[in-house]
Symmetry: D2
Subunit: 255 residues, 4 copies
Amino acid sequence: MSVIDINCDMGESFGAYRLGTDEEILKYVTSANIACGFHAGDPATMRKTVKLALEHGVGIGVHPGLPDLAGFGRRNIDISPQEAYEMVVYQIGSLWAFVQAEGGEIQHVKPHGALYNMAAVNRELSEAISEAVYKVNPELILFGLAGSELVKAGEKVGLRTASEVFADRTYQQDCTLTSRKLPNCMIENDDEAVAQVIRMVKEGKVLTQQKVDADITADTVCIHGDGAHALSFAKKIRQTLEDSGITVRKIGESI
Amino acid sequence: MSVIDINCDMGESFGAYRLGTDEEILKYVTSANIACGFHAGDPATMRKTVKLALEHGVGIGVHPGLPDLAGFGRRNIDISPQEAYEMVVYQIGSLWAFVQAEGGEIQHVKPHGALYNMAAVNRELSEAISEAVYKVNPELILFGLAGSELVKAGEKVGLRTASEVFADRTYQQDCTLTSRKLPNCMIENDDEAVAQVIRMVKEGKVLTQQKVDADITADTVCIHGDGAHALSFAKKIRQTLEDSGITVRKIGESI
Amino acid sequence: MSVIDINCDMGESFGAYRLGTDEEILKYVTSANIACGFHAGDPATMRKTVKLALEHGVGIGVHPGLPDLAGFGRRNIDISPQEAYEMVVYQIGSLWAFVQAEGGEIQHVKPHGALYNMAAVNRELSEAISEAVYKVNPELILFGLAGSELVKAGEKVGLRTASEVFADRTYQQDCTLTSRKLPNCMIENDDEAVAQVIRMVKEGKVLTQQKVDADITADTVCIHGDGAHALSFAKKIRQTLEDSGITVRKIGESI
Amino acid sequence: MSVIDINCDMGESFGAYRLGTDEEILKYVTSANIACGFHAGDPATMRKTVKLALEHGVGIGVHPGLPDLAGFGRRNIDISPQEAYEMVVYQIGSLWAFVQAEGGEIQHVKPHGALYNMAAVNRELSEAISEAVYKVNPELILFGLAGSELVKAGEKVGLRTASEVFADRTYQQDCTLTSRKLPNCMIENDDEAVAQVIRMVKEGKVLTQQKVDADITADTVCIHGDGAHALSFAKKIRQTLEDSGITVRKIGESI
């Protein structure tokens, strides 16, 4: 049976600033990555988002980021593995308390932005992040880019991991994403984007920019929550995946 | 049998900035209130301080403050009860994760500075703080000024509470502390300070500035961790309390 | 001749977060209050907003706030006059540099939110803010609530001041604004709101909630920049003021 | 005639946190680099430090850093040249206002920590920083590592620049500093450290780790302000330079 999880970043509002369409997008996803105040989010937003996620029955994830609100956690910061460990422990705890107060449970951890990207190619960072997750709660599932150092480090430490794929990004022969600085990095056509995911789930393969297939594991697919197109794409990918006989459910029920 | 807990604020360093003499003061206290990054502290400091506190076997407390690093959490901020609830939940969680990662347990929660002082006289804030603690973990002990709204709210919600007293501050007839803006607010003489605590523990009374006794409950006494005098006073109060036949132990073992 | 300035808060975006419709609203106002990174705004937003304001020929104002991004500078913080002085000096300088880099000049300073409201009724805070403005540049115009301590303190120190009025707020007999916690604090009807301003400008009077007129000085009227209604109201008030024979121009050209 | 400036970082306290011995070190230096709140410092500290620097008659410098208080501005952040421009403009302005309020003048700008190091080897960043300085005030002197991209970019844009050398660091054949990750990066012996500076000033040469001389320009030497040894070294280097017939004076009086 083919199964996939659909995840989306959430709870990225801050103070008077609103971002995303969390209530709408929650209808189409099965896992929510909730910001913890470092790159976005604040205690009020976290409380609200945790409640919303529980009401929709989606898997709740910690979405730890770099301490860079002004840069939305998207700028690389040259942190040590030790600092990565500490940041991730702190942020898991901060979200845990809101989930605990509402009577729920955390399902997974997915690093955000630059932290995710740096970890993907940096074994030491990935090991520190994995250790942080494991020591706080070894039952949590660690999300990482399919084939990345983060997935490897998570498995090595003894965590369950989820290999993440992207619908709207193109791939290189080594299964890394095509850099955003290059042309053809994005799949602009929605049908092609969904088709790429379906093939990744059903066949475990992706056609790369080098015109050859690469093997890929697709446990969860990331969609975006911001903008009108995001909503219509979310609806489409969910519908099309299900129409293709793929079961869409939260990762915690699959692995 | 007369019993008291001695608590001290800790983990108040930040980044390159060092504050306090945590390792030294830990020899004399039985409970540690650890800052969580809002008024002081950071993830690295929290990790280190939790480890230190566990090594010394003291009770570990969350020390949530207002989000005001520049003001060290000492300036009143006109937050709503809802915001107080959210800040406290967040900070309990952040410390919990470090304690969890090290295999320990949290004993108590003691609000810091302006949050502590505002709550002492504000029922709505106190109820929000108490609810935050209760919903995250109803086993935690809430520290508040003896006789304050915070202690009342904690009891009302069903928490165990610890009434806190001060060695070096004078009291008013209604058991509030003499304002720092008034003369005679401080007890400068160490012997008098310790004697005040011994009487509070043994007799449940304190001689107020109005020259009459007031009833007071003393479950835990707060000492300061900064400066050379702080250390010598810590040593003295611990020794003298024990010499007076008072058992000094962490609050979690007494209530 | 009747003259008034129309001012609006701007540059309140932060990082990835967008707020306000600065480019649209600039068509209708004559002075712009630009946030400086304490309650809102960041260096990138400041640069952009200064450029926009210069292109539209409006008067550029510093809009210093309390250091409370999460609360958008709307929560009172119990700062000392000295701290108010330092915060205002810092923020004037930060904006000055962008204006300088673009070849422009600063016209005025208008404190934001809680800082504005606290100063309105607190002489010491107002004197500290006025001194900050004066010492950095005695040519700057200080904006304050008409009749407030801030206007008085500004005049006392030797600054030119602008008395600010509100179109959509009702007034008390002592010329303070009706508290937002009370019913009837707002004027919901746009025509009534504009009529109130016209009468303040032409007759120097406002009908208060006590059904008696109060004397009031109206040098500048504050409008809001957020939301679709804000834009249509901005257009209407500008048009109606001009149709009533009132000259709308930036304060620096009038006083 | 041989001349050199001695500069030191200052004003790096923050809120309740104290760092450095500014009052002591000011006796031995001729230029002060004052932090502006991004990597260290706050408005209160800036006001105090500017006053102190003016009282001692030293050249006042802006010391802009990356927005990373927790990392003390020492962690590389992957900012764009545009962001570097904006950060530097903002910070120059913030310090300018305090200097203006006290009736003084700014002499120079020296980027801090990771911003300084990244600029040293990155032409685009250096050009953005140089443009920021030039557009706010073309009279300011830009400090950069001797031979670095920053010095080149400053000269290119039309600024006066000061080539900075280090007493206690060893050099490579291309005049870069030996990485802190390598052995022999530091000169531990004070006499050797001072001798290196004297030779750089008098002969324009430094003996590199490759055992060959390199040409170097020494307009200003950086000393550290933290710790007891810092003070004794400051005293020694000042005394020895003067005993060697080198004039020690602030850079603004030399170029």
